[in-house]
Each structure stands twice: as C-alpha cells, then as structure tokens.
C-alpha cells in the first residue's frame, strides 16, 4: 500500500461517511430507520448527499442528542471518526 493510502486508510480503516451513518441508523432501528434518518437530516439541515467531514460531524452531534439508540449509534461513529483521525495524523507525522 502506498504512503498516501496509509494516511487516508490507516491500518485498513476507512474514514466514516454519511453513507456509513445512514446504514448504521437503518441497522439499529430496523423498520423505523428511514423515519429516524429523515428526522436526523432535517434536524441538522443536511440533504444526506454530502460527502465532507464537517457534514458528518454535524450529523454525529445531532445523533448524540437524539433518542437513546441513536445516541449509541452516534457514539460508535464518533469513536470510529476519532480513531481514524488519530491514526491518520500519527502516520502523517511519522512520515513528515
């Protein structure tokens, strides 16, 4: 794997996306997933098609104050995002 790939995907860990969040919300809520996802997007004024990190950060903030199951799902996403940031930064520092 190249150096650029290692910084973007440290130890095979991809940066979480809004699509990952949508999949997670559907997974943990089952048949209610679509309604919960729509409410989350509305609460943070996102279309769901965004691909940038700040949009995901806004969504996670909304998840952390939503219903208890969504809070846990948001916490899992927060941990995955923070892990990616730490390991990506550490790789960049060791290579600079």
């Amino acid at each position: 794997m190249s150096g650029v790939d290692q910084a973007a995907v440290p130890y095979g860990l991809h940066q979480p996306t809004l699509a990952d969040a949508q999949q997670a919300v559907h997974r943990v809520h089952g048949p209610d997933g679509s309604a919960v996802w729509a409410d989350l997007l509305a609460s943070c004024r996102l279309s769901g098609r965004e691909t940038d990190g700040p949009a995901l950060a806004r969504l996670i903030e909304a998840m952390i104050v939503a219903d208890p199951v969504t809070q846990l799902c948001g916490q899992a996403l927060r941990i995955r995002v923070a892990t990616h940031e730490h390991l990506s930064a550490a790789y960049t520092i060791t290579r600079s």
Binding site: R27, V28, L87
Partner: protein, 171 residues
C-alpha cells in the same frame, strides 16, 4: 476485514433488540468511570496485569466505560473500531474468551491492534443484561504471553458482576 465481513459483524452487533437493551442503561452518566475504574484497578492488581477494561460493544465500535493502565490514542478516543476489539469476540461468544499469545494466534494474526499496541495476551468475560443480551466485556490485557486459568476468570467474573451492579443502578 473486507466490507462484506464488516457488514456481517455490524449486523450481528447492531440488531435493534440488542441496541434497545444497551439503551436501557445510562452509559453516558458522568460518574460512571469513577465507579468502574476501581473495579478495573482491582482486577488488574489481582491478576498482575497492566491493563484492565470494562467496555460496551456498540454496533460498530468498542466503547470503554471503565479502565486502568490505558494510554495513548485508545485512552483518548475511549474505544476503537469493533473489528479490532478482542472484547467483540467475548461478546459474540457469550462466554469467557482468552488469548495466550496474539502474535501466534491465527484468530488475531491479521488484527492491526496487535502490532500497534504490543498486546499479546487477553482474558475477558461477558457482561450480560437481565434480558440475556451480551452488552460488553470486562477484561485484562498484557504485553506478555500468558495462559489464563479458571481462577483468573473467576476474578473477572467478580469484576463483571460489580460492573453490572453499577450499570443496573443507572438503568
């Protein structure tokens, strides 16, 4: 781990039933770590291990709610991706799970956490809710290879029972 395997893992961990069970506990209570860290310290001391954790396995990540001896990014993040967590194996097994030497254990030879942290041995017991769901695990970790026995697991079961008592008070 490829995408299909991750989807399968997250699907097994993130069932609506299991997530509702986890949501029955106040896992974000401010004083939770202050009550659970001493449980970890006691297990680590009794087993002569440098690190002990009390964790919840969420749908895609390990969330550490009590610990002793933890350093670096895992301590800052309070967790790690579920696919790297040895405690995920304990939860999925629903039974004590031990690793004597992760560097030679085929179950963990592709886990990047082993190389990142120097982790070599692990013993964990599941935390089980009143509804039968496995919520997380109480474990010890060591950078030395070691074989854990029934007496070691009994220490961890004591710690897990104490952790569940604390969590029930917060449910």
């Amino acid at each position: 781990m490829d995408t299909a395997s991750l989807d399968d893992l997250f699907g097994r961990l993130g069932t609506p039933r299991r997530m509702r069970s986890l949501a029955g506990y106040n896992l974000f209570a401010p004083q939770l770590a202050a009550e659970l860290d001493p449980v970890c310290a006691r297990s680590a001391q009794r087993l002569g291990a440098p690190v002990s954790l009390i964790s919840i396995i969420l749908d895609s990540a390990q969330y550490i709610i009590g610990s002793t001896g933890l350093e670096g990014w895992i301590n800052q993040v309070q967790g790690m991706p579920a696919e790297w967590s040895v405690c995920t194996h304990t939860v999925l097994a629903g039974a004590p799970y031990c690793v004597a030497d992760a560097t030679t254990d085929v179950r963990h030879e592709r886990n990047p956490l082993i190389g990142m942290t120097g982790l070599r041995s692990y013993a964990g017991v599941p935390l089980q809710g009143d509804d039968g769901e496995y919520l997380g695990a109480h474990c010890v970790l060591d950078t030395a290879a070691r074989t854990f026995g029934e007496n070691d697991l009994e220490v961890l079961r004591d710690g897990a029972a104490e952790a569940m008592r604390v969590l029930r008070e917060r449910s």
